[in-house]
Amino acid sequence: MAVCIAVIAKENYPLYIRSTPTENELKFHYMVHTSLDVVDEKISAMGKALVDQRELYLGLLYPTEDYKVYGYVTNSKVKFVMVVDSSNTALRDNEIRSMFRKLHNSYTDVMCNPFYNPGDRIQSRAFENMVTSMMIQVC
């Protein structure tokens, strides 16, 4: 269960960012912003020749004391960043991968909507529902 999920466009502005409301949201925004550097680093490290073979899932970007940040890049340079609570040790890498895959599928569905202009903020209800299901359920 993620604490914060963000979708960043190619030009590094957020298309969608949502975090659990109990925490200070600004902190998460900063974390996501700083993680973009790490994402870029990882992308460039793979080399330009391997663009096709580059794996979409980037894995753990960097850990902090309380949180871990995972990243995922699509072939159109749209980045998904997920912040997960460090205390949640039950989360396996595979689960993170499957969450990113779900995110990617929902994002594709959003793109298929002809009324969505690429570069707009994502306001799809289906997308929101999917993200809600992935976030920590805070009662």
Binding site: T108, N113, P114, R125, A126
Partner: protein, 648 residues
């Protein structure tokens, strides 16, 4: 809590407000004041003098509010005068409250006098437009807690159209009780809105039933989403919708499906949607691309987020394209939205593509739409009103792509008018049979063509190739002899008819038979003799079937290529006999059957040749394999000898 507001303006009458009135008025005042200036007037004036510097409601929103009460302008002027605003020059809280009270009085039919505000009055009713969304007017006692959704109204250019609609609506709503303020809604009044319909019905059906609202509640609980409906159309539809619902309620205390009723597509709507689909995409079994659909739905004047949400709901497979059931679902959602229904959280079951396809199978769409329509009309007693309503809504939808003709005269609108409105009145207003029939006629061959293209093509293929390909291939593989080509061409049309089945099998065979003898002549001349003779005789015979004279040159040719003179005579004899034998059947009427027989025989012969050839090949390869084996054994022996012997 009572407020004596008389002291404020000095000359105004004392104002007694009930709790609900107090709440309502203060809210209104806050809105009017807040909308304009910075400081709303909080709380009721406690009978203190209202200084000019304190909160005042700006004239603009107040005027809007008053107009929204649908009172005639003279009445409003009277009210403003009475309440003292004109005198003092502004709308302070007291003036505002007095004005509201007077409006309530006027709406109740009482004369606009200062005395009238002294009695108990219902709350004034407003249909108001507000740029920041909606205003909730509540009169819990009267209105059962119903909330009014006030849509964002378009410009005032629609006034003329709305006036007509307003008239129509009044004529259409005989069931409205006189308490619903028809006198207070004169046609020349400009701002008409959805809530007006609501308020009318509310007051009228208070006496009848609270039940209709129960039906509306699960469906039509107005939400906070801002809707941009052109005021006229939703209003008219709304009134007819509400009326039909109330009538239904009265008729039958209903059954399980009523929550789905707004989401059910009737036959007529279905026809309309299908026609619209066809106008965008002539093939009903294919789909509309996203961009085409986007342009089309954008003409409905709904907001982009709403359209986006409707698309999300209706495009079930998320492929960016709409098939016919998806398109119908999307269209229906748009119609419903324009009628004022809030969009559902999920696609209703009656709008699912599987349901739509099952309920309205393709055969109905393509063939007898008109028949089904005529059948369904008498059949459906229960939703008869619904049908009527749907008809009106369908007719409204006839104007759908051009909702406000007066308003915008954009080029796209004009183009749309011309393209869409022509088929539309035809479909909806006129006899639909003609258009449906022509559609169905077009559809049938289309469907047929889809299913039968393969058959037709194979038929064609079957007819063309039969005779020419085998022989030219034969000739090319052997030598470039133009004689044969010339020779065979006249014979081809003659032989075309009878050789449907045999020929497609023929082409591959001649090549191996021709090439093989040539290549193997070096290897196994003895073996070649008999099979090649058979090969020669069969092609000779076959050729002889089609034309007598060419047999001789063919035979000569074969002979020359094979370089075996001893084959000449047998081949010649065979060919001659064949040709002689074949000449007779030619002129007879049984040409075709004989040709068929010969074709079969030649096919058999060719098969035999092929078998022989392959057998030869097999034996050769076996020999080669043996040789290779022997070589391998020899090499292995050598290797063993060379290897140091240590096998323990």
């Amino acid at each position: 809590m009572e407020v004596a507001a008389g002291g404020g303006c000095g000359t105004g009458p004392p104002l007694l407000l009930s709790d609900s009135e107090q709440q309502c008025y203060s809210e209104l005042f806050a809105r009017c004041a807040g909308a304009a200036s910075g400081g709303p007037g909080p709380g009721p004036p406690e009978g203190t003098r209202v200084a000019p510097g304190t909160a005042t409601a700006a004239a603009g929103p107040v005027a809007d509010l008053f107009r929204a009460s649908q009172l005639p302008p003279e009445t409003l002027h009277q009210i403003t005068e009475l309440c003292g605003a004109k005198r003092v020059g502004y709308f302070g809280p007291t003036q505002f409250y007095v004005a509201l009270k007077l409006i309530a009085a006027a709406q109740s039919g009482l004369p606009v006098r200062t005395e009238s505000i002294k009695c108990e009055l219902p709350l004034p009713r407003f249909g108001m437009s507000k740029s920041d969304g909606e205003i909730r007017f509540g009169n819990p006692a009267e209105l059962h807690g119903k909330k009014v959704q006030i849509p964002y109204l378009p410009t005032e250019k629609n006034s003329h159209k709305r006036m007509d609609d307003e008239d129509k609506q009044e004529s259409q709503s005989p069931t409205m009780s006189p308490l619903a303020s028809p006198p207070s809604s004169p046609p020349h009044y400009q701002r008409v809105s959805l809530s007006h319909g609501y308020s009318k019905l509310r007051s009228s059906t208070e006496q009848m039933h609270p039940a209709p609202y129960e039906t509306r509640q699960p469906i039509g609980q107005p939400e906070g989403s801002s809707s941009e409906g052109p005021g006229a159309k939703p209003l008219r539809r709304q009134a007819s919708l509400i009326r039909s619902f109330s009538v239904e309620r009265e008729l039958q205390d209903n059954n399980s499906n009523y929550p789905d009723e707004p989401w059910r597509i009737t036959e007529e709507q279905r026809e309309y949607y299908v026609n619209q689909f066809r106008s965008l995409q002539p093939d009903p079994s294919s789909f509309i691309s996203g961009s085409v659909a986007k342009n089309f739905f954008t003409k409905s004047k709904l907001s982009i987020p709403e359209l986006s949400y409707i698309w999300e709901l209706s495009d079930a497979d998320c492929d960016g394209a709409l098939t016919l059931p998806e398109f119908c679902a999307a269209f229906h959602l748009i119609v419903a939205r324009k009628n004022g229904y809030p969009l559902p959280e999920g696609l209703p079951p009656t709008l699912q593509p599987e349901y739509l396809q099952a309920a309205f199978p393709k055969s109905k769409w393509e063939c007898a739409i008109f028949d089904s329509y005529s059948e369904s009309m008498p059949a459906n007693q229960q939703p008869c009103d619904l049908n009527r309503m749907e008809k009106t809504s369908a007719k409204d939808m006839a104007d759908f792509p051009v909702p406000t003709q007066d308003v915008t005269t954009g080029d796209d609108k004009q183009a749309l008018k011309s393209t869409v409105n022509e088929p539309l009145p035809k479909d909806v207003a006129e006899d639909t049979a003609t258009s449906k029939d022509c559609y169905s006629l077009k559809a049938r061959p289309r469907s047929r063509s889809y299913s039968s293209t393969s058959i037709e093509e194979t038929m064609k293929r079957g007819e063309d190739p039969p005779t020419p390909p085998p022989r030219p291939q034969k000739t090319h593989s052997r030598a470039s002899s133009l004689d044969l080509n010339k020779v065979f061409q006249p014979s081809v049309p003659a032989a075309n008819s009878g050789l449907l089945h045999a020929p497609p099998a023929l082409p591959p065979r001649p090549c191996p038979t021709q090439s093989e003898p040539v290549s193997e002549a070096d290897l196994h001349p003895q073996l070649n003799r008999a099979p090649s003779q058979a090969a020669e005789s069969s092609p000779a015979k076959k050729d002889a079937i089609h034309a007598q004279p060419p047999s001789k040159p063919i035979r000569r040719k074969f002979r020359s290529e094979n370089q075996t003179t001893e084959n000449q005579e047998p081949a010649a004899a065979v060919g001659g006999a064949a040709s002689a034998a074949m000449v007779k059947p030619h002129p007879t009427v049984q040409k075709q059957s004989s040709k068929q027989k010969k074709a079969i025989q030649t096919a058999i012969r060719k098969n035999k040749e092929a078998n022989a050839v392959l057998a030869r090949l097999n034996s050769e390869l076996q020999q080669q394999l043996k040789e290779v084996h022997q070589e391998r054994i020899a090499l292995e022996n050598q290797l063993e000898q060379l290897r140091p012997v240590t096998v323990l």
